[in-house]
Symmetry: C2
Subunit: 107 residues, 2 copies
DNA sequence: TGTTCATGCAACCTTTTGGTTACATATTAA
DNA sequence: TTAATATGTAACCAAAAGGTTGCATGAACA
């Protein structure tokens, strides 16, 4: 099965509108229409953003009657956290820099 | 003074090529041509990527003779770390969730 | 002084992105 | 059953992104 992953999480969070969506979903789950009310763009545009967020596992949806409720799936952001952790050695302090060296001395 | 910021750090790290550039610059500073040798794209394209990374303060450059040396400026990533920290409450554990509530109870 | 090397910039091209409107479908309410 | 509500999908569009080639400029070397 060839699953073509069109987007990755870094692309997903690159758009300010999508970051705002994550923020409001952090508070509570919402339907597409409810989310749309927070933005000056069409419901269709919102729907596309949500599709990208779902593709990259940053949100998940659940059908409730005629509504589709979206909720934050924050584990998707762990990939970003992990990526960032590599760079932390450069800003934290000398100790963590040494720690990094020790951790990787088997390579 | 109207400084138009065309890109932000989230956009900058959205591109896989630029993320790769940060990684190789983490090891040591390099000139434009040296960086180009790591990628299957033209030097001009590399230069454009570096411009974006510089705009968003993820790298800085220094002229040395006829070369321009680029080096990682990892503090630029602190913005991402800060943004991420908001979502950590959702994956860490209940304690940190409570901690977040207490920290924000004055609002 | 030429010549070579490193880089920047302008012009151009193609694909992707973020948006629109119009229409189709599914569920609930009257 | 009919009407209203919630969402999805298709077709389209403009602007941005990522790439190219060609030429200009500045520094170093023979």
């Amino acid at each position: 099965m060839i699953s073509e992953q069109r987007h990755d999480v870094f692309q997903a969070i690159a758009d300010p509108t999508r970051r705002e969506m994550l923020k409001i979903l952090a508070d509570k789950e919402l339907s597409v229409t409810m989310i749309s009310n927070h933005f000056p763009i069409s419901r269709t545009a919102v729907s596309k953003h949500l599709k990208i967020l779902a593709e990259t596992n940053l949100v998940r949806s659940e059908k409730v009657g005629k509504e589709k409720r979206y909720q934050l799936q924050p584990e998707g952001l762990l990939e970003v956290k992990h990526w960032l952790s590599f760079y932390e050695q450069f800003w934290d302090n000398k100790i963590s820099k040494l720690k990094h060296l020790v951790e990787n001395e088997s390579e």
